[in-house]
Each structure stands twice: as C-alpha cells, then as structure tokens.
C-alpha cells in the first residue's frame, strides 16, 4: 500500500512542474531521441561509422566512461562524512550525491553499450554460470561487478531512507549503516579498478603507470564535488530545500584540496615523461606537443591544463572560494578541465602512436557526438527525476496517505518515536 503510494507520488513529482521544468525535460528528451537515432544507425552499420579504427580502438565513449566512473565514485565524499562521521551539514546533501552517483553510473553503462553496439543482447555472457565471467584475471570483469554493485548500493540505500521518511518513520541506522560502510569502500574501489583497467596494460606506456590509480581518484574527487557544488547551488537557488551554506563551503574546501593533489600528480607525471624522455614518453609527447604534423590533441590538453590550474588557484584564494559566483565558475572550469584531461587527454593518446609506432589520429564523427550528447542527456534526465522525487519527501511535503489511518500506524508510530531521540539527533537537530 505504502509502496504503491510511494511510486505514484514519485511519478507525480517527476511528471508535474512548472513550464520551465517541462521545457528542460522536453529538451533532454529531444537530445535523447537524436542520440537514440545515432545508436540505431551505429547498430545497423557497425562502428565503422565512428572515428575509431584498428589503431585508435577506443574513442569518445570510453573517454566519457572513464570520466563518469569518477563522478560516480565521488559521491563518497559526501556519503562518508554524512553517514559515518554524522556530519550535520552534509545530512541534507547526501541524497543528492547518491542521485548523482546513480545517474553517472547509468551513463557509464550506456557508454559501455555504445562502445560495443549490438552487444547488449550478448551481455548474458558476462553472467557467471550461464555465461563466462573471466574473473578474477580480467580487470574488465572486475569493473562489471564493481559498477553494477555500486549502482545497486546507490539505489537501495537512498530508496530505503526515502521510503522510511515517506511512510513517516525514521530509517534504522543498524539497517543501512553497514551498507554505507560497504559503499564507501566500494566507491574508492570502482575507480581504482577502472584505473587498473588501463594501468594494467604494459602495451600502452601512457597508461602503464603506478600513479594512474591515485590520479584517477584525485581527479574524480575534484570533478565529482565540483559538479555537486553546482547542483546544490542550483537547488538552493531554485527550491526551498535547506542546503546549508556550510555544506557548500565544506565541499568547496574539499575540492580545493583534491584539485591541488590532482595537479601535483599531473605535474609528477609530466616531469616523469619529459625530464628524461624515453621511448615510453612518445604518447605524452604526441599529447602535449604533437609529433610532426600530427597534433590534434595539443589544443585540448593545454586548454584542460589551463582550466585546472586557474580554477585550482582560484579555489585557494579564500575570498574567491567563498563568493558563490566565483565558486560556481571555478567548479565549471574544473569539471570541464578534468573531463578533457581524463577523457580526451588520457584514453585517446594511449593509442597514438600505436604500439608499432604508427600515427593515426582520431576525430569523432557525428554519430559519436550525437550518441554522446544523448547519453549525457539521459544522465541529466535520470538525475532530474531522482532529485525531483527526493526533495518533496525530504521536505515533508510528500507523505504516504496511509500513515494516519492505516491499521499499522500504531505499530509504526511508537517505534519511530522511540527511535527518534537516538537516531535523529545527530543528523537532523543540533
């Protein structure tokens, strides 16, 4: 009964809104339709319609995948303090972070599907027993497990909390906190595993670095919170949802620290590749300076680098970081800068030159651009729906109609009132 009411309320929250909201969702849907057409086209004709080839065998899709796994993992930066350290300021923001994680994971899975079109139906082969999951030797098999597990964790935990609030109860800590601990470790692991997927390939010297895992984490914990700040800032300005200034300030401080760590690692990598260049520096040379007439990625990586450096310095200056407008601009710069650095600036140059020294450059085609845009629209669509459903429940506007009259009510009320003093105080009051 409660569940049905929950789903109906969720549907109502997601489908009703002011004109602006419908316009937003309508535009996202339109982009998704274009992306859907690109996907269909790709399935029909094969990946020959993309810019990828035997030399550059991964392109825009895997670039976005690597970046978005990081965004998903970064939810931990809110989850950990909110649930484990019982940080009051993050209490309200954490469900939003989990929403970001879910939508980023949806995008990740969509990008993997885009990378091997026509294969979703082949995915049963990844299932143990009926298929053959090459675990533990394949890092990709690890990644399949990690991504899906993280997706489940990030759906189940917020659902439980929202559902309890919806039915007028307080979530029981002993029921969900163990899963929080798992998800904290899991978040770090998904991104390490994704980094190891690349770092474990001696064939590709650009990726085959012990620093790649830590770099992935640092850049993820920069881009993720940057996006969260943008989203929380938007929610704060547009709704009555009480996002505390402190939460944003704390996130901004965290981002300021992680972006510096990210820069330190990037500088180490650049030093290592260029101070005493060996044959293994050749991909980095192509990326940063180009080789002969081939320099497609040079403007990109320098733009990314400039965005990262400027934004990092801006965040280090207290008055700038505390000014919401400057903070927002810095976050946009970081998000874009890391997207370039980690996607276009890492995945693609790994293939150029090829292991046998041949240089074939990569330019995405309209199919890849449309499908990529479509998948981003899908992610934003999912995120909007999740936020839209969660906010009224958390604000207390959406409650199950069965709470008062239902036969179970007496059972429920005492339990929640008993639970309240112990459970709620750390998160809610104070």
């Amino acid at each position: 009964m409660h569940l049905r009411a929950f789903l109906l309320t969720a549907l109502r929250s997601a489908t009703s809104g002011e004109r602006r909201y419908h316009l937003w969702m309508g535009s996202l849907t339109a982009i998704m339709i274009v992306g859907g057409y690109a996907y269909w086209y790709q399935v029909q004709h094969g990946l020959a319609v993309t810019g990828m080839n035997d030399h550059v065998s991964w392109g825009l899709y895997i670039s976005n995948f690597a970046f978005l796994v990081g965004v998903a993992a970064a939810a931990v930066i809110l989850v950990q303090p909110a649930y484990v350290l019982k940080d009051v300021d993050f209490g309200r923001a954490v469900l939003i972070a989990e929403g970001v994680a879910v939508s980023a994971l949806v995008m990740c899975l969509a990008f993997v599907m885009a990378n091997s079109p026509g294969t979703p139906q082949k995915w049963w082969r990844l299932t143990p027993v009926i298929g053959l999951l090459n675990w533990p030797s394949s890092m990709l098999a690890w990644d399949v497990i990690m991504l899906n597990g993280y997706l489940v964790l990030n759906i189940v935990i917020p659902f439980y909390i929202l559902y309890m609030h919806f039915t007028g109860r307080e979530p029981e800590r002993k029921k969900y906190v163990p899963f929080i601990y798992i998800s904290v470790v899991w978040a770090v692991s998904i991104h390490l595993v994704t980094a190891f997927l690349f770092a474990g390939l001696p064939a590709r010297p650009l990726w085959n670095s012990a620093l790649l895992g830590p770099r992935f984490l640092a850049s993820a914990f920069t881009a993720g919170p940057a996006f969260m700040i943008l989203l929380l800032g938007f929610i704060k300005s547009q709704t009555t949802y009480p996002v505390s200034d402190k939460a944003i300030a704390k996130l901004a401080t965290a981002t300021a620290v992680t972006s510096q760590i990210n820069l330190v690692m990037l500088i180490s990598e650049i030093f290592y590749k260029f101070y005493a260049p060996t044959h293994h520096s050749i991909n980095a040379r192509y990326l940063f300076f180009g080789i002969e007439e081939h320099h497609a990625l040079v403007p990109w990586i320098w733009t990314g680098l400039a965005l990262n450096v400027i934004a990092t310095f801006a965040l280090m200056i207290h008055p700038l970081r505390r000014n919401l407008r400057f903070l927002m601009i810095a976050c946009i710069m970081l998000f874009v800068g890391i997207w370039i650095e980690k996607g276009i600036g890492l995945v693609i140059p790994g293939f150029i030159p090829s292991p046998l020294g041949e240089i074939v450059e990569y330019t995405p085609t309209w199919v890849e651009l449309c499908l990529t845009a479509g998948i981003w629209a899908l992610g934003l669509f999912v995120l909007t729906v999740l936020v839209r459903v969660a906010l009224p429940i958390e604000l207390g506007d959406a409650r199950s109609p069965y709470i008062e009259g239902a036969a179970r009510a007496p059972l429920v009320r005492p339990r929640s009132s008993v639970a309240r003093p112990r459970d709620v105080r750390p998160v809610r009051t104070r």
Partner: protein
C-alpha cells in the same frame, strides 16, 4: 580444458575425418528437417521454399545466438555447431564451406622465424594471408604488416609500413609483423568473457561467437596484432576460401575481434601457413619448436636472433634473424 575431444586430434586419419563430415551432414539434414517440420502447413504454398529458408535462417540464428562457449562444448555439441555454421554460410552467403575443429596435435608447439636479410618487401605474404583467411576486402584488413626501415636502425618509429614504391628500395630492409602467438599473451587474461585463449600448440585463438566486441584485447596487445570488424566483412563469393577452421578463417561478423592464427586450418593439417608458402625469397621459416630436427630449431640454434619488445616479458614465438 579437460573436455577437449582427443579423438579429433587425428586430422591425418582419413576415415575419422570422413565420419565426422558424415555426422555433420546428418545433423544438418536433421536440423533442416526440424525447421521445415515446424511449418508443414506453409510448405503447401508455392512460396514455401523461400519462406522455409527464411524460417530456417531465423531458427539457426537463434541457435547460434544461444550457442555455448567453444571450450565448453562436448563432441556432439561441437558437431551440431559446425553443421549449423556450415548451413548458415550457405543460407547467408551461398557458400559451401567446410569448417574443421581439428584440435592441437600432441607434441607440437608452433614457432616462426623471419629473416630480415632475405625479405624484399614484396608483400606476397600479405596477399596470400588476405586470400587464405577470408579477410575483409571492404575494410582492407591485413594481419601482416611489413615495415620498411633504413639500414642500420631497428626502430619501428622510423619505419614506413605504408610504403608504395618499387621494392626493394636501396638502403632499406624489411621487417614483417603479425600475431606472435606469445607464450605469455597479454591479450588473453584481459578478456572479460574468456573469448580468447591459448591452445596447447601455442596458437592464440578467438571464439568469434563468444566475443562481445569490447576491444580490451586490442588495447592489451603490444604488437598491434588484433583487428576488429568495424563493419560486416565482405569477401566476394568466388574468392572465399572454403577450407575453414572454427578457430581460424571462418566467416566473422561485424563487431568481433580477429587475428592471425598461424593459419590454424593449414598448420594443424601439417601444412605451412599461407604467408610462409607464398614468400618468394624464403625469408619465412615455420615449424614445430618441439621437433629438434625442424628448420626453425636449426635457425634458433645457429643464427643470431632477436624478438620485439623482449622487455615486456611476452615471450613471442616469433623470432627475427639475419644471414
């Protein structure tokens, strides 16, 4: 895998081979019969032949889709699979192909040596490979790459693999690459579905029906030996090599990875790979590394040899030497 069928090892045994073909035919008829039987009603109409074939194709494609991993098939499942694939080749492309499942022969590990002082860059091997292995003519897929290098340097970065002039060019030498069938292949463990593995005779193979097309193996290969079917491969009917092997040169589909298998359909039947046979200069030496009297063993024992990227520990079974 322990469930390999030892009796299939004997490719020299004519009667055994004959028997297997007969069983496959029988299964083919049986499968065809089943497909036809399900539509006895439509069989009465004049259009039935075409419709029957369509239905049969649909049925076989479904069977192909749910097909097991090659290494998990028992003998009868293998035979059934082969019959299905042969029938599908007929229905899809009008080809009458024979697909072998010959296993690795005991006491055989294949090795290859390439004489860089003999190769003149004619690319006859490339040509032979394309024809022998039914490589996609549309995308111009090639397993073999011949690098032209100035004398005195062995540096692939300064090599030209796309040379288009009269050969041999003065002051240059030629070095060919293909899949080296590494003893420690980095492409194998990375596959998320175990669709690629090393056979007991050292050949690294792919089950094209199991590959999901993620291209992880392509990223892992330090020798750029693997190729992807970016679109549906095309081979003109009259040029199709109908002598095929399940793990080798049979028809591939779009979206799967393929690679050189040392011509598994030939070498397991005691013949040379097409590239070695086609080479007009005698630069290619192929043989059984476990046979002390083989030419390859003589080369390894008596010539100064080197391999590419030894530092990666891949242990290629492909050596270079000079006179």
């Amino acid at each position: 895998m322990s469930d390999f069928n030892d009796d299939m090892n004997d490719s020299d045994d004519g009667t055994m081979l004959q028997k297997r073909v007969d069983r496959r035919r029988a299964l083919g008829i049986l499968l065809g019969g089943m497909a036809a039987g399900t539509q006895a009603v439509s069989a009465c109409s004049p259009l039935s032949a075409a419709t029957d074939e369509k239905r049969e194709l649909k049925h076989l494609e479904w069977q192909e889709f749910i097909q097991k991993h090659y290494r998990r098939m028992n003998e009868s499942e293998r035979a059934e699979t082969i019959a299905r694939l042969e029938r599908l080749a007929k229905l899809r492309h009008g080809e009458d192909v024979t697909i072998a499942t010959t296993d690795a022969q005991p006491g055989v590990v294949f090795g290859y040596a390439f004489n860089i002082s003999k190769c003149k860059g004619y690319r006859s091997c490339v040509e032979a490979c394309i024809n022998e292995n039914n490589l996609d003519r549309n995308a111009d897929t090639q397993y073999i790459r011949i690098f032209e290098m100035p004398d005195g340097v062995v540096d692939l970065d300064h090599a030209d693999p796309t040379y288009d002039h009269e050969v041999p060019a003065a002051g240059h030498f030629y070095l060919g690459t293909q899949c080296f069938q590494c003893a420690n292949p980095p492409c194998v463990p990375v596959c998320p579905v175990g669709a690629t593995w090393q056979e007991p005779d050292g050949i690294v193979v792919i089950d094209y029906n199991w590959c999901v097309g993620c291209r992880m193996c392509m990223s892992a290969c330090p020798y750029w030996a693997r190729r992807f079917n970016w679109s549906a491969p095309e081979v003109p009917l009259e040029q199709v090599n109908t002598n095929q092997h399940y793990l080798g040169n049979r028809a591939r589909k779009k979206g799967v990875v393929e690679k050189c298998t040392f011509c598994i359909h030939r070498t397991r039947a005691g013949r040379l790979p097409a590239c070695a046979e086609a080479c007009p200069t005698g630069a290619r030496v192929f043989g059984n590394l476990l046979d002390p009297d083989s030419e390859i063993r003589w080369v390894l024992a008596n010539k100064k040899i080197f391999r590419l990227k030894e530092d990666l520990g891949t242990e290629p079974r492909f050596w270079y030497f000079s006179d």
